[in-house]
Each structure stands twice: as structure tokens, then as C-alpha cells.
């Protein structure tokens, strides 16, 4: 089971955090700070896995962003790496060549996409098509509402 996922920049700025275990805020901040420092200190050719405290950390860098997952001991490292990749693919498909700025300005979308992929720390849906379909359905609902709203505003509804 995934315990948490962090996205942070090369400068160490946190961009997204998702926790699947309940920790007090103070502890979350401490873990985040320490883990970011640890991961940023690693050299490029190093192994993508590390034993860190009682979790197994799997991380990968995409352009300026680090994606970092904390897994339990028995979880499969290589597939976690591919889970990260799948998430990046989804973001990329949704935003169209995703960049760090997309995630900053649309962090809520990044959360919604993650929720379709991973739920409660477990992988929910691995099919790219199905995830994108779910997100598209959400967007459609939103747009309908927006149109409704606009029509209402000009007194057409």
C-alpha cells in the first residue's frame, strides 16, 4: 500500500502531496522536509529505490519535477516506478505536454487524476483510456454547469 506521494521541484518546492495514512500535520511536514532533502542529495545514476525509515521510497525525476512514493516493504518497486510513469502519462495526455506550471495552476486537476488512478493507497485503474474517460466525464459535467450558469446570468434560463 502506498503511504504517501509527493511531487516537488528541483529547488525543493512541494507541488503536490497526497497522504494515505493519517499523520499529524507536524509529522507530515517533518517527513516531507527530510525526504525532499534526502532525494535531492542523490546523484542521477543512483538507484531509484531507497530504504528510508520504515518505508521504501521509490522516486523518479521528470524534467524539473520529482515524483516520489513511499511504499510498504512488500510492495513491488519496479511497478511503483511504472505507476509514477503512468501518472505522468495521464497528466501529459490531459494537459498536453505537461509542465510544472500546469500542475501549479491546476493542482486540483492533478489531484482528481490521481484519485482515479490510486485510491486509498491502492492502485485502482491502470487503463489510461478509462482514467481519461472518467476525467472527461467530470469535465463535461463542469462545462454543462458553466453553460447553465452563463445562460442563467443573461436571463435565458
Amino acid at each position: 500500500m502506498m503511504q504517501f506521494m509527493l511531487l516537488f521541484s528541483r529547488q525543493g518546492k512541494l507541488r503536490l502531496q497526497k497522504w494515505y495514512v493519517a499523520h499529524p500535520d507536524k509529522l507530515k511536514k517533518k517527513i516531507t522536509r527530510e525526504l525532499i532533502t534526502t532525494v535531492l542529495a542523490r546523484k542521477p545514476k543512483m538507484c531509484s529505490f531507497l530504504e528510508w525509515k520504515d518505508v521504501k521510497v521509490v522516486y523518479k525525476r521528470y524534467a524539473s519535477l520529482y515524483f516520489c512514493c513511499a511504499m510498504e516493504q512488500e510492495d513491488n518497486e519496479l511497478l511503483t516506478l511504472e505507476l509514477i510513469h503512468r501518472y505522468v502519462e495521464l497528466l501529459d495526455k490531459y494537459f498536453g505536454s505537461v509542465c510544472e506550471l500546469d500542475i501549479i495552476f491546476n493542482f486540483e486537476k492533478a489531484y482528481f487524476i490521481l484519485d482515479e488512478l490510486v485510491l486509498g493507497g491502492e492502485l485502482q485503474e491502470t487503463s489510461k483510456k478509462n482514467v481519461l474517460k472518467a476525467i472527461a466525464a467530470q469535465d463535461l459535467l463542469q462545462e454543462d454547469e458553466a453553460v447553465d450558469g452563463a445562460l442563467r446570468e443573461v436571463g435565458l434560463l
Binding site: 538507484c47 516506478l81 486537476k109 454547469e145
Partner: protein
């Protein structure tokens, strides 16, 4: 500013841009504070906000939170959004709640109500939103509220696939919070049959749920094995086009495959059904075969996914440990990975091989790769990979290759990373001891360890070499000669001086015949190091000197001179001063017979498992194979006894040192030093067997170690550790007298074994004079209990039966886990636990004048978390903790209010269980 998707919130985008444009941290904080003030006033303002505005502000708060700032308002507005009829608003409300709301919030009832409404919705997208929220933050309350509904949703034929997926993981979350919510009976087979669902996404989600259920109740869910094997078989034999979007870079359903392989690791190989077993073997073979095929893509994603399945298959093979050919095949496959160019693969291959090395079928196959592994240890660029190589070498070591592996590890130690040196030292020491056929080799290895990595050689390591030398006559002369030579080096590590001092003090006579190591030369050599050493080492050397006086009367004058030196006799260090003056007197007053008796050679140490192994296990729980190749290599003389640490010493560090220099023997009662020996020589010991010193059990409420009982004959010390609802208690029986204590029989008196299960390990019935033996007890808290178990110890001293009784320091508070929380949640819970049944209160008089620091220290040892800055009155103490029992966990809050004028305390305990509140209150009352 990049385009904003969906129905963008312009205000939010502007705010984010503003923050990004801030030139300094201060400017950013200023901008954020301004925004927070703005949002606060909007939320408090008279004008009602519309949904869009609420959504926008809640989103801004979320963003501010993500930047690392605390958010303490807006929760209510977010909850309001949940009942909006606009999806986009509802969605933001749920997001805020899953990121920011504590499961124990006051708002939880409102949230649960909203979720209930959304679960009833006809729109599956709304239902999923609600399910996702539960899956992300589900708590016990939610388990209660939705425990019946969600299983129905999961197995109903009308439920859409996407909803089923979420429902499965949602149920998993609730099950983890309260295991009792899963209905048994016919549900079991309906849940298992989800493995047959045509929708791969549903199977993927359901497999995680089933895995958790199986862990809890393997027998009930045994039926899943056949289905899982069938499903796995269909996947691995599928071509990559069959599974369409569930094929990942030409690998068919890697995630589901891995989950199924994991699921099967909960069971032993399916032996009752040969068909299933055969089919599983076929699957595993197929996975291996596919690994050998040329890659279908050059992308790393392809090879990662393929290898992920392969590694999981190997884990299953290792778990089953029943098919020699598969194990060997796994080993060969991993061997190929050892020289792969991907660091990740090398890392995983080393890790996996470590497990293979512990199987008797593949141990030999692993050994074939020794050369490559040694190279990995030396050449890998990444320390975590080198670490894996060291672990593997340790695991693959046996009698045949021990010398080579130890040699290589020693050589590598000279340049090894600081971060792994200490552990390597332990490993080398263990391997050297375990596989020594010739103990001169062992002595060489340990002395080399001290020479190469002296700073990393912990006390346990050099204690151990001394224990072994003392116990093995054949190696004593060699040890003396070797340390003597090692000490010749102009600079040598202090640990070397310690070992040298101890060994020459005991066995210097064995090499004294050689003029090059005559008594005086030995003494002067040791003494040349004296001034460079710490006080502890000096103290040890002083003991060595008096032993040398006994061995070689001819150097007595020279040694006395040293004792008399101002730096010793008037040392500022009280231990050194005492030793110098006592040893000096001893050398003057005692006749050679007395001296010989007092300083008789050390008796052999009781054989015990290496204390080093215990240290290593503690450092890396779970990663050290329990015993290094225990089963197959014949033991080199050492018989492992139960894990016993070095004689547990509750005394000061200098006493610890004495503990070693005067081990259990006839000449020193526990810890009191030489004066008592002399005292005993000249006066008749007065023993009053009936005096029983009060055993003050209450002091153990606040600490885990100490002297539990003591009278003139016997001392019983205790050392204990607790984790969750389990405890390990070591009792140390020390014989304080000059004669053996016999027929020692400890007996437990405790009727509530169904609440607190205490097990005593058997112990030796005879306690030799001056000796100390250990007995282990284990305790498991099943449900909360009152008071603490008693025990009695009966024994014979001089053939007179004795019986003593005492309470064990096992009280409910030992099973506390401290809990951090902030003021808001503390008082919210405090109010929640206001019921008559949940509270307990006592008012009592302070023991002396109220001392807040002492009270604080005591409370800190009680087991709950002391929470500072929460109570408005700084003198009050508030604490929080969770009592772990097997059946449940009970959250518990405590408040202690001192009244200095009245010299009284008021103690209030609140918890979700009446008996717990009462007992914690009773335990703590009158203690301050």
C-alpha cells in the same frame, strides 16, 4: 499564465501568479496573509457567498496549505460545498476535506451525512466522489455509517464497473479501520468471485481487498487460490494484444499479475489440488521463459514492467520454497541481472538473492555468484547498492566460504562508507565467530577489525572477543601474543588498548617466558598508552595492573609507583581514585595467597548467543535472516543459548566496566567492588533470610528498568520494552551471596490471563554464587486489565527454603502509544468524551510540596504524550495516548491540574472505555 482547464477560477489563477511573482519569502508571506485576511472576512461577512465564490476561496486555502502554511479555518465552508448541487463545487469540497480534514473533526457527522446523500445519487460520478472520499479518509465512524451499504454496492449486479472499483478499495480502507465490518458467510464467495469479473479494473481493485481479507482470515478465503491461479494463467499466456488497454508497454496487465502473485504469497503452495499447483508452476515457468525472450520494446517501461512481474514471481517461489528447479532457475535469472546496466535491477537482484540464500535448495546456487557480489560491494557507485551486496555476502556465507568473505569484507572496510561501517563491523564479527573452526583466526579477524575500524567497533564486539578467549583455553596464549604485538604499533585504537589490557591481565603469564615480552615489558607497553586513554579505559587498565601484580610479584614496586602517582591516587575522577587507592592497599596488605584468591583467573562465561547478533537484529529488524545458515552448517563449538544480552546492568557505566573485569565469579558480589570482597573475607556475613525489602511497584509506572526486588540474598532487576500491545520483560536474578542458590522457582499468580497473557520462559534452577541469570517473560495485552500480575520466587539457600513475592511491573499504561495532537483536536475529543461512562476523576494531596519539573519527568515516563501549550494554564499537564490491546485500541486523554495553595492535584482521565479511564486514573492517583 498557462491556460486553465475546466471552468477556470480566474481569481485563483491570479492569486497563484501573484505568489509566483513574489521576489522574497517575506513578500510571499505578506501576500498570503493578506489573502487569508480577505478570505476570513468574506467567510465572516454578512453577505452570503454563492457557491462559486466559496469554491474559489476554499481552493485558495488549499493552495496556501500546499505551500506549507497551516490552515485553521474554511472547513465549514468546504463542508457546505459538499451539499451543492453543482458537481464542480462538490468536487472541490471533497478535495479540501480529503486533504485537510482530520478524521476526528467535529464536522465528521456533517461530512458523513453529505456522503450518504451522494451515495444515493443516480449519477455514478457523484457516487464515486463520495466513495473516493471514504477511501481516502475513512475512519471508524465511517465504517459504522457505511459498513452495510458498501459491501452491497460491491457485489450487486446493478452497480457500474467504475463504481465497483471504488467500492472495493473503499471497503478495504474501512476494513483496515474496523476489521469487523466485513460480513462473512455467503459474502465471502461473492467477494472472492470478483476475481472472475470480466472487467480488469474491477479485478485489479478487488485483488487488493481480497489480499487484506486473506491476511486476516486465510482459511475462510482459501477459495481465492484457485481463482487467482486461473486468472494469472490467463494473463501470462495472453498475447499483448488480448488485453487492450490493460497491456502496458507490451506486457499484459503487469499490475494485476503482481497483485495476484502477492495474493498467492499468503498461502503455502496449493498441495491438496495438484492441478492448481501444476498450473501455477506452468505460470511461473512461462514468466521465466518470457524473461528470456528478446524485448518487444527498447523502452525502460517495457523492461521494468516485465521484470516487476518476474521479481514478484521469484518472491512467490522463495515464499513457497518447495520447487528446487524453480529456485535454481530464479537464482540464475538474478545472476544475469547482477551485471545489468540498470542500477535498479542490480539493486533488486541483490536484495532478492539475499532471500534465495536462505533457502536450502538455492543456497549453493547463490554461492556461485560470490565473485560478482564481491565486485558489487567494491565497485558500485551507489552506497545503497553496496549495502545490498554486503547483506547478500552476509546471507550467503557458510563454513566453506567464510574465510574468503570475511577477508574481502575486512579489506573493503578500510574504504567503506561511514554510513555502513558499523553494521559491517557487526557482520564481520558475527561471521568470524560463527564460522571459526580455528579460534586463532577469529582473534586475528577481530583485532584487525579494531585496527581498521576501531571507531565503529561497539562494546559488544570487544566484550565478545574477551568472552570467547576466556572460554577457550587453546586460544589464550595466541591471543596474548597477538594483542601484545598489536599494541606495539605507535598509535593504536583505544578499543585495542581495552582488549589488550584485559587479555594481558588474564593471560600475560602465558607469554612472559619470552624476554621480548617479559612482565615489565608488558606492563610498560600497556602503561605507555595509559595517558592517552579515557577514564573508563584507565580504570580497566588499573584492574589489569593489579592482576599483573598477582601474576608477576617482581614488578609489584613498579606498579605500586603507578598507583601512587598523583594523577591516579588523587585523580579528579572518583572511580580512578578509588581503584588506585584500593588496589594499592590490596597490593600492600594482602598476602600472596589472598591476592591469588581475589584475583583468580576468570571463570568461563556461560555460553550464550552472541550479543552482537542481538545488536544487529535490533539495527535492522526484518532484514537479517534470523540465523545465518543455522540449519546446514555444523556449529563450530559454540552452542547458541537463548538471546541474552550482556549481563543487563542497571548500574552506572563504570559499574558496567566492572561487570566485565569481574564477571560472575566467586570473588565479587554484584557491582559492589573489592571492598565487599575484603569485608566478606574478614567478617561473617550476616544474612537475614526473612528480611524482605519492600518492592515498590508504583515507581515502575514511570519507568521500564530498575531493581524490582532486593534483600540480602537476591536481587531481581527488570528491563522491559513494549510495542503496541506486546511486551518483553527480562528479569535478572542476581545471587548476592557466597554460596549457590538452588531450586529457584519463579511462579506467576495471575488469573486474568484472558485479558493480559503473560508467559514465562523456563530458567536455570541454580544461581551460582555471585552470578546473574536472566529470565524472559512475554506479555500480550488482549483487553484492558486492572492492577498487575504478582509472582513469587521460591528457592533454597543453605538448604533453607525461602520464598519472596512481588508484583510485576505490568500495568495497563505500558501499552500506551503516545499521540501528538493540537489544541483544537484535543479539546474536540475531550468534549466528545464527556459522558458519565467515559470520565474518571480523583482529587488527591501532593506527596510533598508540588514540584512541577518532577511531575513532568514522571509523566513523560508514563507512556502518554505530554502535550505542551494546549492547556490555557501553563501549570496544568495534558496528555494523550492510545492503549493498544488485541481486541481494540482505546484513545485516552488525561489532564492533571496542580493546586499549589492547597497542595492538591486534580486528575481527570477520559477515554472511550469506562474501565480504561478508571484504571488509568487509579494508577496515577497519589503518585505526585
Amino acid at each position: 499564465m498557462p491556460a486553465v482547464r475546466g471552468d477556470g477560477m480566474r481569481g485563483l489563477a491570479v492569486f497563484i501568479s501573484d505568489i509566483r511573482n513574489c521576489k522574497s519569502k517575506e513578500a510571499e508571506i505578506k501576500r498570503i496573509n493578506k489573502e487569508l485576511a480577505n478570505i476570513r472576512s468574506k467567510f465572516k461577512g454578512d453577505k452570503t457567498l454563492d457557491g462559486y465564490q466559496k469554491k474559489k476561496y476554499v481552493c485558495k486555502l488549499l493552495f496556501i496549505f500546499l505551500l506549507g502554511h497551516d490552515i485553521d479555518f474554511g472547513h465549514m465552508e468546504a463542508v457546505n460545498l459538499l451539499s451543492s448541487n453543482k458537481y464542480s463545487e462538490k468536487q472541490i469540497g471533497y478535495l479540501f476535506i480529503s486533504v485537510l480534514v482530520n478524521t476526528n473533526s467535529d464536522l465528521i457527522k456533517l461530512i458523513i451525512q453529505s456522503i450518504k446523500n451522494d451515495l444515493q445519487s443516480r449519477n455514478p460520478i457523484h457516487v464515486n466522489l463520495a466513495l473516493q472520499c471514504i477511501a481516502n479518509i475513512g475512519s471508524k465512524d465511517m465504517a459504522e455509517a457505511f459498513g452495510t451499504e458498501i459491501p452491497k454496492l460491491l457485489v450487486s449486479g446493478d452497480t457500474m464497473d467504475v463504481v465497483k472499483q471504488s467500492a472495493a478499495l473503499c471497503l478495504l480502507r474501512l476494513f483496515r479501520k474496523s476489521p469487523e465490518i466485513i460480513p462473512g458467510g455467503e459474502w465471502t464467495s461473492r467477494i472472492i468471485h470478483l476475481l472472475n469479473d470480466p472487467h480488469m479494473g474491477v479485478v485489479t481493485a478487488a485483488t487488493s481487498l481480497i489480499d487484506a481479507l486473506v491476511k486476516k482470515n486465510p482459511d475462510e478465503y482459501k477459495g481465492c487460490v484457485t481463482l487467482a491461479v486461473a486468472r494469472l494463467s490467463r494473463i501470462v499466456t495472453a498475447s499483448y494484444t488480448d488485453l487492450q488497454d490493460y497491456t502496458y508497454y507490451f506486457v499484459p496487465a503487469p499490475w494485476l499479475s503482481v497483485k495476484l502473485l502477492r495474493l498467492l504469497q499468503n498461502y503455502t503452495p496449493p498441495s491438496e489440488e495438484p492441478g492448481v499447483r501444476g498450473r501455477l508452476s506452468e505460470c511461473l515457468e512461462t514468466i521465466f521463459n518470457k524473461a528470456q525472450e528478446p524485448p518487444k520494446s527498447k523502452k525502460v517501461q517495457h523492461s521494468n514492467a516485465k521484470n516487476a512481474v518476474l521479481f514478484e514471481a521469484i518472491s512467490l517461489i522463495i515464499h513457497n520454497d518447495s520447487e528446487p528447479n524453480l529456485l535454481v532457475r530464479a537464482c540464475n535469472q538474478l545472476g544475469q541481472f547482477l551485471s545489468n546496466r540498470e542500477t535498479n535491477l542490480r539493486y533488486l537482484a541483490l536484495e532478492s538473492m539475499c532471500h534465495l540464500a536462505t533457502s536450502e535448495f538455492s543456497h549453493e546456487a547463490v554461492k556461485k555468484h560470490q565473485e560478482v557480489v564481491i565486485l558489487s560491494m567494491k565497485m558500485e557507485k551507489d552506497v545503497s547498492v553496496r549495502q545490498q551486496a554486503v547483506d547478500l555476502l552476509y546471507a550467503m556465507c557458510d563454513k566453506t566460504n567464510a574465510e574468503e568473505i570475511v577477508q574481502e569484507m575486512l579489506a573493503y572496510l578500510e574504504t567503506a562508507d561511514y554510513s555502513i561501517r558499523e553494521e559491517m563491523v557487526l557482520k564481520v564479527a558475527i561471521l568470524a565467530e560463527k564460522y571459526a573452526t580455528d579460534f586463532t583466526w577469529y582473534v586475528d579477524v577481530i583485532l584487525n577489525l579494531i585496527r581498521i575500524a576501531g571507531d565503529y567497533v561497539s562494546e559488544e564486539v570487544w566484550y565478545r572477543v574477551i568472552q570467547i578467549v576466556i572460554n577457550r583455553e587453546e586460544v589464550q596464549g595466541y591471543a596474548a601474543k597477538t594483542v601484545f604485538e598489536a599494541l606495539q604499533a605507535p598509535t593504536c585504537h583505544e578499543n585495542m588498548v581495552k582488549v589488550g589490557g584485559y587479555i594481558l591481565g588474564e593471560f600475560g603469564n602465558l607469554i612472559a617466558g619470552d624476554t621480548r615480552s617479559s612482565p615489565l615489558v608488558q606492563f610498560e607497553l600497556l602503561h605507555s598508552k595509559y595517558h592517552l586513554c579515557s577514564a573508563a579505559t584507565r580504570a580497566l587498565l588499573l584492574s589489569t595492573y593489579i592482576k599483573l601484580v598477582n601474576l608477576f610479584p617482581e614488578i609489584k614496586n613498579r606498579v605500586q609507583e603507578v598507583f601512587r602517582a598523583d594523577s591516579n591516587l588523587r585523580s579528579a575522577d572518583v572511580e580512578l581514585q578509588q581503584r588506585a587507592s584500593e588496589y594499592l592497599q590490596l597490593s600492600i596488605v594482602a598476602s600472596s595467597d589472598v591476592l591469588a584468591t581475589v584475583l583468580e583467573e576468570m571463570p568461563a562465561f556461560p555460553e550464550r548467543e552472541s550479543s552482537i547478533l542481538a545488536v544487529l537484529k535490533k539495527k535492522k529488524p526484518g532484514r537479517i535472516p534470523d540465523d545465518v545458515r543455522e540449519s546446514k552448517s555444523p556449529q563450530p563449538n559454540i552452542t547458541p543459548a537463548p538471546v541474552i544480552n550482556n549481563i543487563a546492568n542497571t548500574n552506572s557505566s563504570s559499574a558496567d566496566l566492572l561487570g566485565l573485569s569481574t564477571p560472575p565469579g566467586t570473588n565479587a558480589p554484584t557491582g559492589n567492588g573489592l571492598l565487599d570482597v575484603l569485608g566478606d573475607l574478614y567478617t561473617t556475613p550476616k544474612i537475614s533470610p526473612t528480611t524482605v525489602q519492600q518492592n515498590n511497584i508504583k515507581k515502575f509506572l514511570f519507568k521500564n528498568n530498575g531493581v524490582l526486588f532486593e534483600n540480602d540474598l537476591i536481587q531481581i532487576g527488570v528491563k522491559s520494552e513494549y510495542r503496541q500491545n506486546l511486551g518483553r520483560i527480562g528479569l535478572f536474578y542476581g545471587n548476592k551471596t557466597q554460596s549457590p542458590i538452588q531450586n529457584v522457582r519463579p511462579e506467576l499468580h495471575w488469573n486474568d490471563l484472558h485479558k493480559l497473557n503473560v508467559q514465562m520462559k523456563p530458567m536455570e534452577p541454580v544461581l551460582e554464587a555471585g552470578a546473574q541469570i536472566q529470565q524472559m517473560l512475554t506479555a500480550e495485552c488482549i483487553e484492558d486489565f486492572l492492577d498487575s500480575p504478582s509472582m513469587s520466587v521460591s528457592f533454597l539457600y543453605n538448604n533453607v527454603p525461602q520464598k519472596i513475592s512481588m508484583k510485576l511491573p505490568l500495568t495497563l499504561n505500558k501499552f500506551f502509544e503516545p499521540t501528538e495532537m493540537n489544541g483544537e483536536s484535543f479539546f474536540a475529543r475531550w468534549k466528545n468524551l464527556g459522558g458519565e461512562q467515559q470520565r474518571a476523576q480523583k482529587i488527591f494531596k501532593a506527596q510533598g510540596s508540588i514540584d512541577l519539573t518532577a511531575t513532568r519527568t514522571k509523566l513523560a515516563g508514563f507512556g502518554m504524550q505530554l502535550l505542551d501549550g494546549i492547556d490555557p494554564n501553563p501549570d496544568n499537564f495534558v496528555c494523550a495516548g492510545i492503549v493498544h490491546t488485541r481486541v481494540q485500541q482505546v484513545g485516552c486523554l488525561m489532564r492533571l491540574e496542580p493546586n499549589k495553595q492547597a497542595q492538591m492535584f486534580r486528575l481527570t482521565v477520559r477515554s472511550s472505555k469506562e474501565t480504561v479511564s478508571q484504571e488509568i486514573c487509579n494508577l496515577l492517583a497519589d503518585q505526585f
